[in-house]
Every structure is written in C-alpha cells, then in structure tokens.
C-alpha cells in the first residue's frame, strides 16, 4: 500500500470537496447581490410594491447563501496550510498578496455592509440602505476579481521568475492581468448570472405552478428568464474565447477535452467517445468531422495537438472529456429553455410544460459551473501551477488516516447542508404565499 499516494489522493479529494461546496454559494451571491440592487432601484423608481416583495423574498435567499459562502470560504483559507504547505512555499510570494488583498479590500467590505443591508432598513436612510446593497454587490464581485486573478495565474503564470525554487514577482500588473485572467473572470461572472437567473426563474415557476399569482412571482420569473436569455449566448461567446486562450496556453488540456490522441489537422468534434488511456485511443466515438479544428482554430483544417505529444503529462481524459460535454450540454439546454420561456412571456404567461422544466432546472447553473471548474482544474493535471509546481510536490505530510477523518467530516456536513439549503429554498417558496395573505403592517418580529 503506497501511503504517500493514498495521502495525496485523499488530500486532493478533500480540497475538491471543500472548494466544490464553496463555489456553489459565491456563484449565487455574486449575481444575486446585483439582482437585489436592481429590485431595490426599481422599487425606488416605480414605487410598485411588487419590487419590494421580490426584494424581501430574495434577500432571505441571499442571506442564507452568503452565510454558507462565508463559512466555506473560511474553511478554504485554512486548507492551504493544513494540506498544501508546498504551495505557499513555492508560490507564496504571488498567492500571499493576492489573497491578502482579497480579504482586506473585498471580504471585510461585503461582510460589514451585509449587516446594514440585511437588518438596517429601518435604521438608516433609504439612500444609505441602497448604497449598502451596492457595496455588498461590489464587494462580492471584487472578491471574485482577486480570487480569479490568483486562479488564472495558476493556469497561465506570468510576471515572475523562479529564483532558488521560489517564485519571485517581477511585475504585478502581469501577475494579475495574466494571459487568461480576463477570459476566466468574464466566464465566471456570467456563470453566476446564469445560475441566479435559473434560480429566480425556477423558484418563481414553482410558486406560480402552485397557484401563487402575486405580482412579484411573474416579475421575478420574467427577470430570471430574460437574464438567462440575455447572458446564455454571451456565455457561449465567452467560453469560445476561453477555449481559444487555452489552445494557446494549455494545449494538453484541450487535447483531453476533445479526446484527440494524435496531432492532426481537421480534427472531428466528438459528441460521444470512451477514451481509453491503455490503448491511447477512443472506443465508440462519433462526431462532427473537422468541427473541433473549426472551433479551436477557426479553420476547418487547422492543426490540433494530440495527447501523445504530452504523454505522462496530461490530465485524465475520460473525466475531462465528459465533464466538458456536461457543461456545454447543460449550458445549451439552459439557452434553449430560456429563449423558449422568453418567447412565451411575450404573452405574459408560460405553459405548464415550460413551468415544470424551469422548476427542474432551478439548480442547473450549479451543475454546469461545477462541471466547468472540474474541466479547468483537473484539466491542469499534473500541475498545480502550470509548468511551475506539480500537485504532488505541494502536498503536506499529514497521514492518510487523518485526512480520511477530516474528509469524512466535511463530506457528511456538506451533504447535510446542501440538502438543507435546497429544501429550505423550496419551503420558503411554499411559505411565501401564506406571508402575502397576512394583512399588511404586521412585522415579522421573530425572523420568519
């Protein structure tokens, strides 16, 4: 039994579990904060009660999502030290300042003004309250900026030199605005918008299907559908840009994504395949001829580098190939459904079928986002920092038994919390109707 390999695999699974759980919640809060600002501003402008009703419902969703994001984020900040000390040792001079700036400029800002935003409506002026809402939205987006700057740097490192085995920064502008940062930031911000859009639409459709005809329901449903219909095509475009960027900087990842084994011109876009690492070929593959070259090089006969050029140094192909297709498949389905629903909304209503589909796809954004993150992070294998630090070099000395214990604890906790989160959101949706039917002027004394 190779204890060291066990430790490494367990540590990787634990990090994956922690960060997968964590990403679910900023995916919601980044865009939802701006949506809440939108609701508030619409109320301030029109005075129509439905916008405040929408705000009141979704601010509760926001509070819950934010709390889960914060506690899982705190956990993340400890992971570097507990399991991956080699990371800070080698690239600490880059990661350190970026993480420090995230906490100093963004985390404190959002955490502090959240209290005012959630509970301060009666204690501060309306303008101040709207400003607090803006600061929370700005803070969450700024957080994404810093974290993605670091993540992008790990994918396409720039602006540094290796001196005595440690990365030393030469140019901070190049570190932050490294070659893949703009594409990755845009892709993630749009992912958040799409995730929230489908949650808005899905939970509203759920209420609508249960006969809740309060005006905020259709308003929120509309907001969600239009947001999705607008951002989904943008996301396709953003994904394409990131793809082109990855062809240039991480060809092994692209080869795995498309399961291209031999370098070739006019590579087919495989819609289905079972990549086999033993034979270094695909079984049962079929696809669109020359389409991969078309997408990746914008030339039907363009050359795509194959996995055999990177033997021993490329990610697991089956996983990456299918995770990518999951992301794209879900994304295209989201685009189709949002356009269909937008078309129906021209008549101010949606069909039973579309309503049900929206409910089923409430959390489709989560699935697509996770799939995409797995593609890009596992796709960087065997590198933790591309061509600078291997994953195996960064792991700490903690033995497998300890890692297995902490991993077990986290997994149990996370499964419980995700189940609780989803069920509470639907519970709140059911209960919202009962609250509307209460006479106005009755405050929710105990938080309800």
């Amino acid at each position: 039994m190779d204890l060291q390999a066990d430790s490494l695999m367990l540590a990787r699974i634990q990090f994956a579990a922690n960060i997968s759980f964590h990403i679910l919640f900023p995916s919601v809060t980044i865009a939802l904060a701006w949506v809440l600002l939108f609701f508030k501003l619409r109320f301030d402008t029109t005075g129509n009660k439905k916008w405040m009703d929408a705000y009141r419902f979704w601010v509760k969703v926001f509070a819950l999502s934010f709390a889960l994001g914060v506690v899982s984020g705190v956990t993340m900040s400890f992971q570097f030290g507990t399991n991956w000390p080699g990371y800070m040792e080698t690239v600490g001079n880059v990661a350190g300042p970026l993480l420090a700036y995230e906490v100093l400029t963004a985390f404190f800002l959002e955490a502090t003004f959240l209290g005012v935003m959630l509970f301060g409506m009666r204690r501060v002026s309306n303008r101040m309250h709207t400003f607090a809402t803006f600061l929370v939205a700005f803070g969450t987006t700024l957080s994404a900026f810093w974290i993605l700057a670091l993540n992008a740097w790990m994918q396409t490192p720039a602006g540094f030199d290796m001196i005595e085995g440690k990365a030393q920064v030469m140019d901070w502008w190049e570190v932050i605005f490294n070659p893949s940062f703009p594409q990755r930031l845009v892709h993630m911000l749009l992912a958040s918008a799409l995730t929230v859009a489908f949650m808005l639409a899905g939970l509203s459709a759920y209420r609508w299907l249960r006969g809740d005809r309060a005006s905020e329901v259709m308003t929120t449903l509309r907001t969600g559908v239009y947001l999705a219909a607008f951002t989904a095509p943008m996301q396709v475009f953003a994904g394409d840009l990131l793809g082109l960027n990855t062809v240039k900087h991480q060809p092994a990842k692209i080869a795995a994504i498309e399961a291209v084994w031999e370098t070739q011109k006019g590579a087919p876009l495989l819609l289905f395949a079972l990549p086999d690492e033993a034979t270094r070929s695909n079984r049962w593959s079929f696809g669109v001829p020359r389409a991969a070259s078309l997408i990746l090089t914008h030339d039907r006969d363009g050359e795509v580098r194959g996995l055999n050029e990177f033997e021993g140094e490329h990610p697991p192909v089956m996983l990456i190939f299918w995770a990518f297709r999951a992301m794209v498949g879900i994304g295209l389905a989201m685009l189709a459904l949002s356009w269909w629903a937008a078309w129906q909304l021209r008549q101010d209503t949606i069909s039973l079928l579309v309503g049900r589909l929206l409910v089923i796809t409430t959390f489709s954004g989560w699935l697509a986002t996770l799939a995409g993150w797995y593609v890009t992070e596992i796709g960087r294998h065997p590198w933790l920092v591309y061509e600078v630090l291997a994953i195996a070099e960064a792991v700490g000395p903690v033995g497998p038994a300890m890692v297995a214990s902490s991993l077990g604890m986290y997994l149990a906790l996370y499964l419980l919390l995700i189940a609780a989160y989803v069920s509470v959101l639907f519970h709140m949706s059911r209960k919202a109707r009962a609250t509307e039917e209460r006479p106005p002027g009755e405050t929710s004394g105990a938080p309800s």
């Binding site: 899982s72 705190v74 040792e89 993480l99 209290g115 938080p447």
Partner: protein, 339 residues
C-alpha cells in the same frame, strides 16, 4: 535596518492585532452561542444582539490566518499540520454556528430546534477547539500527557472567557429578565475565567523553562508585574460593578444599570488585552516554540512590502466602516427583521 529585519516584526504586530480583535469580537458571538438558552423570545433576542455583526467579526480570523499564511508561510504550514484535527473541528464548529443563524430562521418550524442545537453546539465546539489550539501552540505541540492536560485547561479557560465576553455583551444589549439573566451569567463566568487565567499563568512557566526565565528573572519580574496586577484589578473592578448592578436590579434602579451596563464588558476586553500581551511576550520571537522564529518563517521582503502598503491604506477604512456598522446597531438589541 533592512526590510528583512523590521518587516516580519511589523507583520507580527499586524497579525497579532488581527487575532486579538478576532478573539474579542467573535469571542462575544461564540460566548452568546455558548450561553444560548431561555424561552423563544429570549433566544430570538440573543440572536438579534449578534446578528448584524458575526459575519464581519469572523472576517478578522480570516485576516489573522491570512497574514500568518502570507507573511509567515513556513510557520503557517508547520502550525496547521500540527493542529490538523483541532483545526478541522474548529471549522466544523464555525460552519455549524454560521449556517445555524440563517437556517433556524428559515427552516420549517419543526426543524428550528435542531438548528438551535447546531448553533449552541457549533459555538461550544469552535471555542473549545480554539482553546486547545492555543494550548498546544504554547507548548510547541507537545504530544504527551502533560501537553494534552495543558491544552485541555486552556480550552476550558478560553471557553469560559468567551462566555464572559458573551454575557457582558448581553448585559449591554438586552433589557428586562434577559438582562437579569445575563448579569447572573456574567458573575458566574467572571470567576471561571479568573480561574482559567490563573491556571494558565501557573502552568505556562512550568511547562516551558524558557518562558519561566523570561518572567521570573530580575529585573523582568518587576517590570512585568503590572500585567498580572492590572489583570487582578480589572477582575475586582468587574466584580464591584456586577455587585452594584445586582443591587440596582433588586431595587429596580434601571437608570444606574444602564449607566454602567457596558463596564463589565469593557473590563473583560481589558483582561483579554493584557492576557494577550502576556502571551505574546512569553512566545516572542518564536512562531513555533524553539523551532521557528518570525525571521526564519517570513516571506520575502518584497511580498511583505506589497501587502503592507495595501494594509496601511485599507485598514483605516475597515476600522471606519466597522465603527459605522456598530453605530447603526447601537443600543439595545431589537428583534431582527429584513424589513
């Protein structure tokens, strides 16, 4: 003097400050969680007293650990791998405590009491784990019976200290019967905390000959005497205030209670600051006892400079808007609603 000499020192100061602020602020949050008890209205009021603040309070922990991570990466790795399980337990506690806030208010009513258990349990777990981590760190991660006993004492002591902070906070932020109960809690935890600090003060020099020498050699013992002396004074002062308030409560003298209800909390903060200073003095310059000094563990001066510039610009802003946030929610805790 070049950067490699004074930058680690400055960052030690910043990190220490962040951790001290965390301990005081989240101390009262966790303390309220430890004391979480009473009828439904009282429990709601206790939650309301910390609701707007807990999130930002916890951020100081992220800053403290973040500074350890970024300024002293070698120490960060050694400390966190040595404290692997206590850290995992603390995080479990903090996760449960944080989410229980929201879930108790939004989950179906039959589930509410489960989330309240999670809130109390998470707070207790986080407090004990943090105390344990502190104890283990002081002994340089001794893995024997003595090390474990010491860590247990500190775990209980810190939990008592947090409960004292929480009780003092409730004394300020609540009224009526809940305030009366907070008064009783403050009196009880005051002496538990005193016991804890006494135990720590005796045990620490015994456990480490190096620390013994730092305190008990001349002229140090004379120069340092103010620390334990002022600590004792603060305890006595707090006790006097509490006794007066108990009398005022009996005679119904609410005016005087309100005049001084902040005093026990202030005394406790003073006690924590002194205890922190004593601990810092004992441990300096080691980040890992007898193994890593701050200079050995520090990042390159260039990184530290970059972070320092940002910190110096941003920290005043953070303190500014934090004060603003406390002013918005000044006064007695009112039930929290989103309206």
């Amino acid at each position: 003097m070049n950067g490699a000499d004074w930058l680690p020192f400055v960052f030690l100061g910043l990190m220490g400050l962040a951790i001290l602020i965390y301990v005081v602020l989240d101390g009262y949050d966790l303390g309220v969680g430890i004391l979480f008890w009473g009828n439904e209205a009282e429990r709601d009021r206790m939650i309301a007293s910390i609701g707007p603040f807990w999130d930002a309070n916890e951020t100081w922990l992220v800053l403290g650990i973040g500074l350890l991570l970024t300024a002293f990466p070698l120490a960060h790795g050694v400390i966190l791998t040595a404290l692997y399980l206590p850290v995992a337990l603390m995080l479990t506690g903090l996760i449960l405590r944080g989410v229980a806030f929201e879930f108790r208010a939004k989950a179906p009513s039959p589930h509410k009491h489960w989330w309240e258990h999670a809130f109390r349990g998470g707070s207790i777990l986080a407090a004990l784990a943090q105390g344990w981590m502190l104890g283990a760190w002081v002994t340089g991660f001794r893995d024997d019976g003595l090390g474990w006993a010491f860590a247990t004492i500190i775990a209980l002591g810190l939990a008592a200290g947090y409960a004292l902070l929480g009780a003092g906070w409730l004394l300020m932020k609540t009224e009526g019967s809940l305030q009366g109960r907070a008064l009783r809690w403050t009196r009880a935890t005051l002496w538990l905390t005193a016991l804890g600090i006494l135990a720590v003060s005796i045990a620490t020099p015994l456990v480490s000959p190096r620390i013994f020498d730092k305190w008990f050699s001349l002229p140090n013992i004379l120069l340092l005497a103010p620390i334990p002396l002022f600590t004792a004074v603060l305890f006595l002062l707090a006790e006097i205030f509490l006794r007066r308030m108990a009398q005022d409560l009996e005679t119904g003298n609410t005016r005087d209670i309100e005049r001084w209800c902040w005093a026990p909390f202030a005394c406790t903060v003073g006690i924590f600051v002194l205890a922190f200073y004593g601990l810092a003095y004992s441990m300096f310059p080691y980040l890992v006892v007898d193994r890593l000094t701050i200079w050995q563990a520090a990042s390159s001066p260039e990184s530290l400079r970059v972070i320092l510039i940002g910190a110096l610009i941003v920290l005043p802003a953070i303190i500014g808007y934090t004060i603003y946030s406390y002013r918005v929610f000044w006064g007695k805790a009112r039930d929290l609603s989103y309206d």
